[in-house]
Amino acid sequence: MINEVFNDLFAQRENILTKIDARVKIIFVLLSLVVVITSGKFYCGLFIFCLLVSVLLFLRIPVKIIAFRLASPLFIGMILLGISICTKGTTVLFKWQLFSGQLIGYQEGLVSGTLIISKILGAVSLVIFLSMTTPIDKLLKAACWLRFPRTFVEIALLSYRYIFVLLNDAITVWNAQTIRLGYMSFKIGLQSMGKLAGAVLIRAYDQSVAIYQSMLLRGYNEESCPNVSFAAFKRTDLCAFYIFGLVFISLLIIRIYL
């Protein structure tokens, strides 16, 4: 499951959106993020969320994956909604008797909490849209175009590549420990967890040495990686640019007039 969740498996598929230049998508996502976050309207986040989730479902991204990615931001959103209802405002919405005290919910808090949740939904759906339609290498290559430091891009690319290697190692050690009753009790489980993390660290260190040697053999030097060159925008990119522009203008209209 974890492999499915943060693997760019879906971004590697061939479809209309994966063919579009990453730079166009990044610009659209960043601009829309600014509009969604600065908006004081509930509809703004909701509009972009409904639109992008429909697009993702159209691209046959499993609902399970979208729900998993939305779950953790929504968890925090729910906590903030609860806090907001109980602390913000003066118009009483409900009163509950709790032990010796009273729990009072306010209408203004509910409105402000719902606004936060709509912003979360909108913003998170934008990020999911970007990651589900753009492979990580293209994303980071576009980050170079946005003047991200190359050292950062280079290490991020290497990191992403080795996450899966380490994850497999961790899963292997975890399975071995489980078979040998490594998580039989809470105390033994704690010891096993420390050993598991230690084994992952040792593996990471050893691999870094081996990887550097193999990279040297394949012609790696500090200057050449990553060797980024940007192709000119194609006709499909320009079409996408206009479509994203229309969506963005609709978002602006919702923000201003609704």
Binding site: V5, K88, L121, V127, S131, A170, G194, K195
Partner: protein, 349 residues
């Protein structure tokens, strides 16, 4: 019927949200922070990243495989922060931060850099954190977590505490510092017209069921990990030129950065404090005096009213003079080298 359906839907949503999913309480999700606050935290995080890049370039000359090592360290933080740890008190799963161990092994600045990479990948591929909240997440998890862990580790090593205890304290503080700063960031951005402190404590209380036991679990994990590596591969710990090797200088540097960080937090909070003026009264007024007045024992003017004129200042001055006199008398005992004094006495005899 309708009410029943709504209740069932709410129950299903609550069970789905709180049972199987990990409580990723450490990162601030996309969309939560207003733009100006998101920008401010980006500005706070930026110098650390710039310094990190500068250090990587410098260090890559001495240690050729340093970049792949950092990349793997980033991957390791990612993998560790994906380990679901059951939190018995909350009945949910949460995850460790992983910054404690990276700060100990590669130093706090590098740890911030590596955390930034792990956070970016998590934001993109797990919706765990966000792009607009990336700066705030770097400050809470990277800066606060790494420096807290590194500082306490170096300090305890100086006092020759066992390796497991040092690792435990580093892991514990990395987690708790992260969660405290996250609460601060959330409360500062979201309190609006309401009281900052009320919201801050409320967020802390909301996160306590998961993060309090999780911090302890992360402490155990970090301690166990360090002991395991020290037993199996001590060469790794010595080769990284980290908290194990640079004791004095790193403690001094760490103190400097903690002071800078606290100053930044203080500057942010000064704005918040200005808004709180007059809203909060002390415990004496709100509880003691109130209860006493209810029972017919209202407070009266003190016999010596120090609020009159400059009396309080005079008392402080007097206390300062007395303290200075006593300190001057005991100066030799406090600051002179004892061995030298004994030698001097012997030579006189």
């Amino acid at each position: 019927m309708r009410k029943k359906m709504i209740k069932t839907a709410l129950l299903v949503l609550a069970v789905w949200l709180f049972s199987n999913q990990s409580a990723f309480a450490m990162h601030i999700s996309e969309g939560i922070l207003p733009m100006q606050w998101a920008g401010l935290w980006y500005l706070v995080a930026l110098p650390f990243l710039v310094k990190g890049i500068w250090m990587i370039k410098k260090k890559s000359i001495d240690l050729p495989h340093f970049k792949p090592l950092l990349a793997l360290m980033g991957a390791m933080i990612f993998v560790i922060s994906c380990m679901p740890v059951p939190v018995p008190t909350a009945g949910t799963c949460s995850h460790p931060a992983g910054t404690g161990i990276s700060a100990i092994l590669i130093g706090p600045i590098m740890s911030i850099f590596v955390t930034a990479i792990a956070l970016l990948i998590q934001a993109l591929f797990m919706a765990h954190g966000g792009i607009t909240t990336w700066g705030a997440d770097i400050v809470s998890m990277g800066v606060a977590g790494s420096f807290a862990a590194y500082g306490v580790f170096v300090l305890l090593r100086k006092f020759k505490a066992p390796l497991f205890v040092c690792g435990f304290a580093a892991g514990l503080l990395a987690d708790w510092a992260t969660y405290t700063v996250t609460s601060f960031e959330l409360a500062a951005a979201l309190h609006g017209q309401e009281s900052f402190w009320a919201l801050f404590w409320m967020i802390i209380i909301a996160f306590i069921p998961t993060q309090l036991p999780l911090g302890i679990l992360e402490g155990f994990m970090t301690g166990g990990m360090l002991v395991f590596v020290a037993q199996r591969r001590p060469d790794i710990l010595s080769s990284l030129q980290n908290a194990f090797t640079k004791k004095k200088r790193s403690l001094k540097k760490c103190t400097q950065v903690i002071i800078i960080l606290l100053s930044v937090l203080w500057l942010n909070s000064s704005y918040v404090f200005a808004q709180e003026q007059g809203r909060w009264v002390g415990v004496d007024v709100s509880i003691v005096e109130k209860v006493a007045a209810e029972h017919g024992r209202a407070a009266w003017t003190p016999f010596i009213n120090t609020d009159q004129g400059d009396l309080l200042l005079f008392v402080f001055l007097l206390a300062g003079v007395c303290g200075g006199f006593i300190m001057g008398l005991c100066w030799d005992r406090l600051f002179s080298n004892k061995k030298r004094l004994v030698n001097d006495k012997r030579s006189i005899q």
